[in-house]
C-alpha cells in the first residue's frame, strides 16, 4: 500500500503547468495531474496507477474561484468540494449541485477533494456527472492550443474516461443558475453514509398549469457513465404530477436501462429496481419543490 516512486512537479502558473505537461508528453513520460488526491492516492497506493511523474496543481493560482458570471455559476477546478458546499452562491442559485456535493464522501474527503477532480476522474458512481448531464454543464479545459469548452454530454466518454486530451487541464466547470420554480432532487442508495452510490438518480422537474412540462433525469452507479433516462423523461411530458405518473416514470426508467453494472454488493437486477424506486421518490421530492 505504498505508491511507487515518481517525479514530483508543482508548477506555479497555469502556463507553466501546460508547458510542463506538453514537455513530459513529448518525452514519452507518463505524467498525471494531482489535485486533491482523494481518488488518485488510493490508486497510487494500490498501484492501479503507476505514473512516472505527478504534476501537482496546488501552487497554480486562480483555479479555486466560485463566482457568478454572465448568468452562470463558474467553479474553479481546484476549489474544494467543501468550499462548494459552503458557498452561499451555490446553495442559493444551484441547490441541486449543492445537494450533490453534500453526498460526496465525508467531510474529510470534501475538505481535500477538488470539484474538478471528480469531473476529470469520471467515476460512474459519482454524483457530479449525472448532475452535469441534466444541468447541461460545461467543462473548460486549457491545453497547449489554448482553452476549449466541452459540453457535459461530450465530456464523459466511458468508465473513468473523459474527453480531456493528454496535457489538457480542466480549469473550470460552469453550470446555469437553477430557473425559479424548477423542482429538483438527488437520491442515492449507498452501503454506508458517504460511500459511492450503488445507484442514484438526479433530476429537475418543471410544472406549468398542473402538468409536467419538462423533466430531466439521469442515473449514476448503473453504467459506465452517468446516463440520461430519456424514456422516463418523455413519459412525464404533459402528465399530471401524481403518484401514478411518477410510478410509471420509475417503471419506464428501470425498463429502459440497458445492462446495469453488477458487483458483489448489488446485482444488475437490484440496481434496476433501485433506479425505478429512486426515480419515483425523487420525482415526488422535486414536485414538492416545484412552483
Amino acid at each position: 500500500m505504498k505508491p511507487a516512486p515518481f517525479d514530483y512537479h508543482a508548477p506555479t502558473s497555469l502556463a507553466e503547468a501546460v508547458a510542463l505537461l506538453a514537455r513530459l508528453d513529448d518525452e514519452g513520460c507518463d505524467a498525471k495531474i494531482l489535485a486533491g488526491g482523494q481518488s488518485l492516492m488510493p490508486m497510487l497506493a494500490m498501484r492501479v496507477a503507476r505514473p512516472e511523474a505527478l504534476v501537482d496543481l496546488r501552487r497554480v493560482p486562480g483555479l479555486d474561484a466560485i463566482r457568478l458570471q454572465d448568468g452562470y455559476i463558474a467553479i474553479g477546478a481546484m476549489a474544494s468540494k467543501r468550499a462548494a458546499e459552503l458557498s452561499e452562491l451555490v446553495r442559493e442559485k444551484q441547490p441541486l449541485f449543492h445537494a450533490a456535493t453534500r453526498l460526496v464522501g465525508h467531510q474529510q474527503i470534501r475538505n481535500r477533494g477538488s470539484v474538478g477532480g471528480s469531473f476529470a476522474h469520471a467515476d460512474p458512481a459519482s454524483e457530479y456527472p449525472a448532475v452535469a448531464l441534466i444541468l447541461d454543464m460545461q467543462m473548460v479545459a486549457t491545453g497547449p492550443d489554448g482553452e476549449r469548452v466541452i459540453p457535459a454530454d461530450e465530456f464523459f466518454v466511458t468508465y473513468m474516461t473523459t474527453a480531456l486530451e493528454a496535457g489538457e487541464i480542466l480549469t473550470e466547470v460552469r453550470m446555469p443558475v437553477l430557473p425559479t420554480g424548477s423542482g429538483w432532487a438527488i437520491q442515492e442508495i449507498t452501503r454506508r453514509n458517504g460511500d459511492l452510490a450503488l445507484a442514484g438518480v438526479a433530476l429537475t422537474l418543471r410544472l406549468e398549469a398542473g402538468r409536467c412540462t419538462d423533466a430531466r433525469i439521469a442515473a449514476f452507479g448503473v453504467d459506465a457513465t452517468a446516463v440520461r433516462l430519456t424514456a422516463a423523461e418523455d413519459s412525464l411530458r404533459g402528465a399530471v404530477p401524481n403518484s401514478e405518473s411518477f410510478a410509471r416514470a420509475g417503471a419506464t426508467a428501470a425498463a429502459s436501462l440497458g445492462d446495469p453494472m453488477s458487483c458483489i454488493h448489488a446485482s444488475a437486477d437490484y440496481r434496476r429496481h433501485l433506479v425505478g424506486t429512486l426515480v419515483e421518490r425523487a420525482l415526488a421530492e422535486a414536485a414538492a419543490r416545484a412552483r
Binding site: 515518481f6 497506493a45 496546488r58
Partner: protein
C-alpha cells in the same frame, strides 16, 4: 524536478524542515520521520479514517495526502490535543476515557481529530449531525454507541468551559 523534495511545515506548533521522497504519504512522514505514532494507519487507501489529522484546521486523511502536498501547512495530530503546559488531557480525550469511547484504541485518534473539527464548527451538534460527521471513521470494537456518548459528553464539557 526530482523524486526528493524539501518541505517545511508546522506540526502541533513545532516547525520542521525535512527532505522527503515525493511518494511518502503524510501519514508515514508523521509516523516515521517525526516519530509521532498517534496517527494510526489502518487501510492506507482512504476507507477507515484512522489516520485523520487536521491540515490548516480542516480534517483530512493523512494516508491520502503526500508529505510534499503539506509543504507550508499547519498540521495538528492527536499528540497536539493534550495541553502542553499542564499535561492535562483535552476535554475530547477525557470524554472518550470516561464514556468508554474506545476499546482497542486503534480508531480513536481518527475519531478524536474528526470530533475536534466537528465541535469547532458546531459546538452543539444533534445526534444526526454527529453521525454524519463521524461517518468517515470506522471502529471494529465499540459498536459506535459509546463513541456517540463520548462526543456528546465532550460537547457539553467544551460548552460549559466556554460559558464559564
Amino acid at each position: 524536478m526530482s523524486t526528493r523534495q524539501t518541505i517545511r511545515l508546522t506540526v502541533n506548533g513545532k516547525p520542521y524542515e525535512r527532505e522527503v521522497e515525493a511518494r511518502l504519504t503524510l501519514a508515514d512522514f508523521i509516523r516515521h520521520e517525526l516519530h509521532l505514532g498517534g496517527t494510526h494507519v489502518g487501510c492506507e487507501h482512504g476507507i477507515c479514517g484512522a489516520c485523520t489529522i487536521l491540515i490548516d484546521g480542516s480534517s483530512a486523511r493523512a494516508c491520502l495526502t503526500l508529505a510534499v502536498q503539506a509543504d507550508g501547512a499547519n498540521i495538528t495530530t492527536v499528540e497536539g490535543l493534550r495541553n502542553r503546559e499542564t499535561g492535562q488531557l483535552h476535554p475530547i480525550q477525557q470524554a472518550f476515557v470516561e464514556a468508554h469511547g474506545l476499546q482497542c484504541g486503534f480508531c480513536t485518534p481518527g475519531f478524536m481529530m474528526t470530533t475536534l473539527e466537528l465541535l469547532g464548527e458546531n459546538p452543539d451538534p444533534s445526534d444526526d449531525e454527529i453521525k454524519e460527521a463521524l461517518g468517515g471513521n470506522l471502529c471494529r470494537c465499540t459498536g459506535y454507541q459509546s463513541i456517540l456518548d463520548s462526543v456528546r459528553l465532550a460537547a457539553r464539557r467544551l460548552q460549559s468551559a466556554s460559558a464559564a
